[in-house]
Amino acid sequence: MHPISGNFRALLLYLAAWGPVSAILIYLFVSLGGLTWTRASALAIPLCLVFAFVCLSAWYSCRSIPLVSSGAWLAHLATAMVASLFWILAARAFADVLSTSESFSGIDQQLAGVYRILFGTGVLLYLLAIALHYVLLSNEAAHNAEKREMEAYSLARDSELKALKTQVNPHFIFNCLNSISALTSSDPATAREMCIRLGEFLRKTLGLGEKSQIALGEELDLVHAYLAVEQIRFGKRLKLEETTDSTAATFPVPPLLLQPLVENAIRHGIATLAEGGWIRIEIRNGSPQSLSIRIENNFDPDAPKRGGANIGLKNVRQRLDTTYGGRARFDVRADREQFQVALEIPAERTT
């Protein structure tokens, strides 16, 4: 949109600036053309008003011809001369009309005497308008660049945040290492087992994050590696039930979809229950081409709040949205002491 005509206040300001210009033109008409003040005003004010709008067209040529290109000023000079000639034609037509009235008779002849003045001021004014428009354009460009930079910055921050969220929970790692530390003296074999399981889990996590989709079987391997570690940590406190359709293993799913949900079930479920709790995972290859997943756990509703639950769920929901649009279902339900997440994913491969 034009920066001046597209903005009412800017337009008023711009037209006001033409006031002094018309004053100068009147003075030139009087002193050099010998017109009376009234006649000079009757001619100059409407002409300036017309030319003010003609000069707005400079924006289009400024936009199409960058200031740095060679011959830019030559082209602009040519445009200015054309504009100025147009102005003279307009002036003539206007003077012809005026001269029909008695009080302005002969004004057309008088105008012919100031053609040179009109042409000169016209070229000068148009060139000024071009300069003004270049300033406006560069302002706009700077503003846009700033906006783009801000957008790029927030985008970078978003992806950084996402990368952070999908990373492994440090609390989990440190607690694991502490368990291993305890086991090294009392049960070295289990300590080694836990090291190996933790290693498997970390390696899989690092590998999967880069892919856009993996087979459900791979995701379940990751979940099992994770649960194996937590099983050692929590011992009898963690009871696990899992039923998975054997045909579901090849179903494509986004990576790190289930692991965060199972981790939530541990953090906000088992870890809040001194006497232990259960996690139930149920995966069915639905008809005809969808996968339904249900993860349930019990929890202590009176437990102190632990942060991070909503971030994990939000993250999963967001990834389902970006992968499947509205075609995936994601339901979260919390009863008094029971938490349930249900997903339904269509069989779609993304490339």
Binding site: F174, S179, S181, S186, A271, A274, D300
Partner: protein, 252 residues
Amino acid sequence: MSQQARIRAVIADDEDLARQIIREMLQKHPEVEIVGECSNGFDAVRMIGELSPDLLFLDIQMPKLDGFEVLELIADNIAVIFATAYDEHALRAFEYHAVDYLLKPFRADRFEAALERAKERIGKKMSATAEQLSAAARNPGQYVERIVVKDGTRVQIIPVEKLDYAEAQDDYIGLASQGKQYLKQQTISSLEMALDPKNFVRIHRSYVVNLERVTRLEPYGKDTHVVILNDGTRLPVSRNGLKRLQEFLSGR
């Protein structure tokens, strides 16, 4: 059992293996006797009340009550060593107030150093009070969501939205919630700081009120006012309290 001065210790951590490693490291120290172990916040409070140990190893994330809530409910002459996996905010506070903190997993010599510091504290019979500790551990701008109170041997949890008002009573505060009164050893100022000032206002030297409960403000006598809560309770309002209350009421 020798008759030498023993240090009686309790270990509170919900993970077996985490308790096990502390137990193991204490084996080298016959002067420290483990008198109890527990795996959740309720048990910790009860056990500490019954056994009054000298030393407490305390995890932060536990079922029922977290480590900070346990701290609020126990006597303040116990030396506390925190053992935690990862809690950057709490760490900052511990640097000033805790006897020591152990980051899991910890080295044996780190454990020894912590135990050494604890023994010094126990010898001098001085330590940061539990109240100081838990207040310092809270992040600035973050307010409690619930208040824990010892009700006989039981622990009562009051979500802050169910707290009607609090009243100072010597070294204690009385907490009114759903028609019941609870007593807690805490100053009213520290309670005021722990509560979100958007919902709770100190209307008097001795009273903090939940704004949700206030139905009317009436003049009472020459220079004073009273607020009337929705259950009919009348609480005095001091001149400063009136100013604060009016600020909040006009701001809403």
